[in-house]
């Protein structure tokens, strides 16, 4: 029963990838559905192209922070960040990852290969679904909307069923100005429909 009181969504990536908007849209949709929500995000110095994380807790919660090993799902906009925050996962955690690698701006940094990092994450044994978020976003109209693709994929995973409805997310996005309203809704839908495809191909 405890398990169904709330859902912990950890969204991670690199400063500038739209994680604050991701959290805000999801949280506003939860409120439209009459479900309580708390989010925690980081502003200021930590944000300048650094590693960023947004905690989103939906349901019967009072604290805005997700405990380590306490995420039901981790949505990652970037693969190094997915690996960095994997300590928020437990055996049952679902990982939804964007297939993108961004080099940290550190002189001489040794970068792992994309395939190696995906392999490493998968070897943790967690259910892992990888999507081409940036490509799908460009298909929707702008690379900037990759965050909405990943939000669509999160809803497509059905893990938030009973907490957040796709139509409420669309309602929240439709308050945005054009052209973002149209592009973001397209991105959201592309993410939503791509999830199951990606999930099947990843389990192969």
């Amino acid at each position: 029963m405890k398990e169904n009181r709330y859902k912990n969504v950890l969204a991670v990536g690199v400063g500038g990838q739209g994680l604050i908007t991701f959290g805000r849209v999801l949280a506003e949709a939860a409120i439209l559905n009459g479900v309580k929500v708390l989010t925690a995000e980081v502003h200021g110095m930590a944000q300048r192209g650094g590693s960023v994380v947004t905690h989103i807790r939906i349901g019967d919660v009072e604290s805005p922070l997700i405990p380590l090993k306490g995420a039901h799902v981790i949505v990652s906009m970037e693969l190094l960040e997915a690996a960095r925050y994997i300590n928020y996962a437990n055996k049952k955690t679902l990982l939804i990852l964007n297939r993108r690698l961004i080099r940290p701006n550190v002189p001489g940094v040794k970068m792992p290969k994309m395939s190696d990092i995906i392999e490493k994450i998968k070897s943790s044994g967690l259910k892992t679904v990888v999507l081409d978020g940036d490509k799908l976003a460009e298909e929707a109209g702008s690379y900037v909307s990759a965050n909405m693709v990943m939000l669509g994929a999160l809803l497509g995973s059905k893990i938030l069923d009973g907490f957040v409805k796709l139509e409420d997310v669309e309602k929240v996005i439709s308050r945005m100005p054009e052209p973002w309203r149209e592009i973001n809704i397209k991105a959201l839908k592309l993410g939503y429909s791509s999830y199951s495809k990606a999930a099947t191909s990843d389990s192969d």
Binding site: K2, M45, R84, P104, N105, V106
Partner: protein
């Protein structure tokens, strides 16, 4: 950001904690709000500024926290409700008027927000500003959630006005930058004030202050009594042998952990929102029949020590735990609170699913520290500065300051040998340039210069202290999210203002060597910095170089707004020799690395500053379109 801010009463909307505090202040009917931006406090006044004209209230970005405090204090003297906001270390700057404000009191409600950065996400320390409340005899209130932040803000305006005394609202990063559903209340209209002359109250000469001091202590006793009935303090499930005292934000963590172990309806919880002064009667009532008490509070044992004193004075035999079980440093998280509660309540870890899992999943990855943005003019200045220094074959000490440019401490730049506090670069140079023979270079941003850089520069002119001050003028307060300041020509609420230029200040105070440079002309900037350093060496006097170009984030957003095409740069892979200079020595994050170590410029990140083209030794980098005049003008 949140258009929902002005929605009508009765609606539930998602607001960030800082927006909720702003809404609470408007529901309380403030007429005046002032602040200097600082994480995690910035969005309170930023939000109010956006709606200032609609609401008919005065909202301003003040030059620094001391001025912001004094301005709001002045407004509250006149009988209107006033708000001032700052980050924790900002209250150090404003500590002087803070102490005085308790002596005189105020006529209109006066709320001082201190946004403490527990965990140091964006600050030089994690000082606990509840000490200021004890020090100044000013009550401190702490919300546990964004929703409570709104209601508490509104309530403490009444509290302040009732006692004609200032109050502190202490928030932390996880309240200020958390979002949650907020039930909106009615808005109250601002009013006009009137200053009523009363020299015995407002003129703090010793003779008056001596008479005000016993009155202050008397007021404090009344406040100590009143917090026992403060509606945000409460006792839940009275009567258990083990009692948890949850202060401010920790209440949410405590409730969530108690739910996980199915003890929420069993354990007595004393929730304290007025942590200074501690509500004595509530404490006695909650702990009188208990055997053990655990005080859960972030940072210092302020409530813990007070409760230990209370039980001793009241003759209650109870063991009071606090910092023996709860960490003193850093943020309290659910994990840390759970560990403390499990020990205190003597329950098994197995009862919490996320604690029982032994398996720790972790993967090692390279660090990703925050970094200067693509096109950042600071990077260009740093590159030119290093070039000048290496040409002169000198080894200067770089005195850093607070702003985006603090990131210059990292390789490859390494041009921040100190970073103390706002204005500390020029300040410390005044000593270091005297006691050493090393060349001193103070590096400070425009907003920080206006905030606290002017008095130490006057000091350098007055005492004839030889060092170079480089003012990195990007025409905004960038780190906190682009707030205007006295050099920008615009006020918080969008009105046109006089532009105050740093080089004109330097000139008027008597600096004899002043130069203004365009950092994107790398060689020219390097030469001009070298010339300034030579002047200092020869004449033994201070010099100032203003490095003037707009923040790249502003330029990129202006370009989008005005529909001006950004001349994105590209690498000609035929010419690129994989020398790594552009991404390892210049280190622009828009430059990515291909498998053969050649460079690739990500067109989604490049903002067209063109610096990398000057840095490339084989001229392999070129713009995709010719940068136009319109484009160049955006950077001014």
């Amino acid at each position: 950001m949140s258009k929902v801010f002005l929605e009508q009463a009765g609606k539930t909307v998602l607001l960030m904690g800082n927006e909720a505090i702003a809404r609470g202040a408007v529901e309380a009917g403030i007429s005046f709000a002032s602040a200097y931006p600082g994480t995690p406090s910035t969005e309170i006044v930023e939000t109010l500024a956006r709606y200032a004209n609609v609401l008919g209230i005065h909202v301003e970005w003040s030059t620094n926290e001391k001025v912001a405090f004094e301005a709001a204090y002045g407004a509250a003297m006149s009988g209107v409700r006033a708000l001032t906001c700052m980050k924790h270390v900002g209250l150090n700057v404003a500590a002087d008027p803070l102490m005085s404000s308790a002596y005189t009191g105020v006529r209109g409600g006066f709320v001082i927000v201190t946004a403490d950065d527990v965990g140091m996400w964006s600050s030089q320390n994690e000082q606990d500003n509840r000490w200021y409340g004890l020090h100044a005899f000013i009550p401190v209130f702490e919300p546990y959630s964004p929703a409570e932040a709104k209601d508490l803000t509104k309530e403490i305006f009444n509290f302040s006005e009732k006692f004609e005394h200032p109050v502190i609202l202490r928030t932390t990063t996880r309240i200020s930058h958390a979002r949650g559903p907020i039930l909106l209340g009615e808005l109250r209209k601002p009013v006009e004030g009137e200053f009523l002359k009363d020299v015995k109250r407002w003129v703090l000469v010793p003779a008056h202050a001596r008479k005000l001091r016993p009155k202050l202590l008397e007021r404090w006793s009344k406040i100590e009594e009143a917090v026992n009935d403060f509606p945000f303090n409460k006792i839940e499930n009275p009567g258990s042998k083990k009692v948890i005292v949850a202060c401010g934000i920790t209440y949410g963590h405590v409730v969530d952990v108690l739910k996980e172990i199915d003890k929420l309806d069993e354990i007595t919880v004393l929730k304290i929102s007025s942590t200074v002064p501690v509500p004595r009667k509530l404490v006695v009532e909650a702990v009188k029949d208990a055997e053990e008490v655990l005080v859960v509070e972030e940072l210092e044992p302020i409530v813990e020590e007070k409760i230990k004193a209370i039980v001793q004075e009241e003759g209650i035999t109870v063991k009071v735990h606090g910092k023996d079980l709860v960490p003193r440093e850093g943020e309290l998280t659910l994990n840390r609170v759970a560990e403390s509660l499990i020990k205190f309540l003597n329950v098994s870890k197995q009862s919490i699913p996320w604690l029982e899992t032994n398996q720790e999943i972790s993967i090692e990855v390279p660090p990703r520290p925050p970094t200067l943005c693509p096109g950042c003019p600071h990077r260009a200045t740093f590159f030119a500065l290093k070039k000048a220094v290496s040409k002169l074959k000198i080894k200067p000490v770089y005195l850093g300051d607070i702003g985006c440019y603090t990131l210059g401490l990292n390789p490859p730049y390494r041009v921040q040998d100190t970073c103390i506090e706002m204005g500390g670069s020029i300040g410390a140079a005044n000593g270091l340039a005297i006691t050493t023979k090393q060349p001193m270079i103070a590096i400070i941003g425009d907003s920080t210069f206006f905030h606290a850089g002017i008095p130490p520069l006057i000091n350098a002119v007055y005492n004839n202290t030889p060092f170079l001050t480089i003012i990195l003028d990007n025409r905004t307060t960038a780190m906190t999210g682009h707030q205007p300041h006295p050099g920008t020509g615009i006020t918080a609420s969008g009105k046109t203002a006089k532009i105050i230029r740093p080089e004109e200040i330097a000139k008027s105070i008597g600096v004899e060597y002043i130069d203004v440079v365009n950092p994107f002309k790398l060689d020219e900037t390097a030469e001009k910095i070298a010339k300034a350093l030579k002047f200092i060496e020869e004449k033994g006097k201070p010099a100032v170089v203003v490095s003037l170009r707009k923040c790249a984030l502003l330029v990129a957003s202006d370009a989008r707004r005005k529909n001006i095409k950004i001349p994105v740069y590209r690498v000609d892979l035929e010419k690129c020799t994989a020398c790594t200079r552009c991404y390892n020595v210049f280190a622009c994050p828009a430059i990515q690395v291909l498998e053969d170590n050649k460079a690739y410029i990500d067109p989604t990140l490049c903002v067209g500053c063109g610096d990398c083209a000057q840095v490339c030794p084989v001229k392999a980098i070129e713009p995709t379109i010719k940068p136009g005049k319109e484009w160049k003008e955006l950077w001014w």
